[in-house]
């Protein structure tokens, strides 16, 4: 598995898109930090980018990579190798190379900015951790979609739909249900609703760390009580991990059964 991971990883590292992705984050980081001297605002803008863009790029990259390397995969399948190793290796190759672009792209300007000396280091590490989680989650989802659909267009369509659902439509449904049940106590519902969606969960985790959390008022206080504790943090990290593990299991399951 490691060998395949290595091949996929280096294959992607050499590709133009990783560099573009890396360069994008690098410029974003530099522009935000050095042209805007408010660190907390920079973190907010980065958060907006991360919770929307990282999942989208993870999805597109995952699907693209799967379909593009299909012939190579078929070649590998002819070798005496376990299917699990092949697909997991490819998946990890994509996810790790994307995460690396993200972490390095944002990390380098932050290090030059002297982040290790500032208090925002925790906000920023949380930002990167959630970014990495989102990359892993969404490229796994993309691999799932691609594995289930021979048709490229369909595969692409479904993965984009998954992104669209989690990034936008979910919030719409969430909002509607909150308004619909406004006569009832909503603390638990809103907590559960946030926990179930990795994008919402990441957004809330980051927002609660920032000054802006004061705007959240009473609800924010309830959330802070939950997320502020070690228990809450562990639960949220576990939730994100589950979001990674479930699609990965489906990759293993699906790839074992699939006809090529």
């Amino acid at each position: 598995m490691l060998k395949i991971l290595k091949y996929s990883f280096f294959d992607l590292i050499r590709s133009r898109w990783s560099y573009i992705y890396f360069a994008f984050y690098l410029t974003l980081g530099v522009v935000l930090l050095f042209l805007n001297n408010d660190l907390s605002k920079a973190v907010i803008t980065l958060m907006n980018v991360i919770i929307v863009l990282v999942p989208l790029i993870g999805t597109i990259f995952g699907v693209m990579y799967y379909y593009n390397s299909k012939e190579f995969t078929e070649l590998l399948l002819a070798q005496p190798l376990k299917r699990t190793t092949i697909f997991l290796g490819q998946y990890l190759g994509v996810a790790i190379s994307l995460s690396m672009s993200l972490v390095l792209g944002l990390g380098i300007p932050f290090i030059f900015y002297g982040l290790f000396k500032s208090n925002a280091i925790w906000d920023f590490s949380l930002l990167l951790i959630t970014g990495v989680f989102l990359t892993f989650i969404f490229s796994a989802l993309a691999f799932n979609m691609a594995l289930s659909n021979e048709n490229k267009i369909k595969g692409f369509g479904y993965s984009i739909l998954v992104w669209l659902f989690l990034a936008i439509i979910y919030d719409g449904i969430f909002l509607m249900s909150l308004i619909l049940f406004e006569d009832y106590p909503l603390d638990k519902l809103s907590l559960i609703g946030t926990m179930l969606n990795p994008i919402d969960l990441s957004r809330t985790l980051i927002l609660l760390k920032l000054d802006i959390s004061a705007l959240l008022g009473y609800t924010g206080a309830v959330f802070k009580q939950f997320f502020g504790t070690h228990f809450g943090l562990i639960v949220s990290i576990t939730m994100l991990t589950i979001w990674v593990i479930l699609p990965v299991f489906r990759i293993i399951y699906k790839s074992a059964k699939k006809d090529f």
């Binding site: 936008i168 919030d171 308004i179 406004e182 603390d187 519902l189 919402d200 927002l207 004061a214 009473y218």
Partner: protein
Amino acid sequence: MQFSVTHRFIIYSLLTILTGYTQTILAQPIIVCKDCQTTSLKKAIALAKDYDTILVKKGTYKEYKIEINKPLTIIGENYPVIDGELKGEIITIVSDHVVVDGLFIINVGTSYTEDFAAIRVKRSKDFEIKNLVLEKLFFGIYLEKAANGKVYHNKVIGDAITEHNSGNAIQLWYCKNIIIENNIVQHARDGIYLEFSDNCIIKNNISTNNLRYGLHFMFSNNDTYENNVFSNNGAGVAVMFSKKIKMFSNTFRNNWGTASYGLLLKEINDAEIKGNIFEENTIGINIEGSNRIDYVKNNFINNGWAIKVRGACYTNKFIGNNFLYNSFDISYNSNINDNVFDKNYWSNYTGYDLDKNGIGDVPYRPVKLFSYIVNRTPETIILLRSLFIDIIDFSEKVSPVFTPDNLLDNNPLIKKIVW
């Protein structure tokens, strides 16, 4: 008019007699110091005649319950310390025409049945309290049914931790015509508190880090406060159940927290709010049941909500204000609007100005759909900064359905207003 020579002579001689008389009094103040004849302030007061001056030299005087019952001028030299040893009230003024100047008063006792103060003025007129430093206090300066006085250039530093067992730095109760100027008040429950006090002027004070409010009005009318700075308080200023309050050129800064605001207006009528700066407050102004108020030329910068209208607010005017980078400009909880918004500058305005007259050609809608939703169901705030929210805000802006459709600024300015 021409005075005759004799007239002039009489006037001059009268003047010399008068000035000579006062000089003889002023020339011999009663001196209080550790090695003098009078070693305590209490004794000095007992010795003094009306309109005498008492000079307190540097040192520590362990005294409390000092009653000033005749018109005196008490001056501290190099800030002598009056230590109440936490036993109770320290100075009580019960006479008219008293001046207290330059003392350092510490250790006022705490009581749950009596409001002990470092210095209290009781039913007196024409007093002056200036250059005092008060520390470790329960109540600081307490004016009770007093009138025509001046509280000038004092520094009151409390150590309030909880609201129920702390007092206010400067408190006015049934007072009239008081001037409170150039004071610094910190770490008390309320910085300055006015109850049933009319025609007072509060000017150039700095009120910071107070537990509850920087400045608090209750049932007080015709008061003015200007050029004050209120920062890091539980809430900046609360004006409640009062009429005709003028609020000019104050700064409300950093009142940041889940239940904080810069200015709270509750049941206020006919007030004027002009030239103030509201910066980085969770809520800039929180308005409830307030009518006929003019908001003119204020700056709202980086607040969570610049203005939150809670209801029952009619015929208010918002003219010529700057709304800069607030998360929400205006929040409304109903879709009926009777207030006027005109000629403001909104940093969120995205319209254009084809005829170049400095006024945007498209009206601006200050109420976002999201702020409307949050008002209805506060829990939805958890979706703050979600992409979905941006989308619905945009669609509401294009065609308003939920927000009051007559709530708009028909003449939004293109450039920030500079005064």
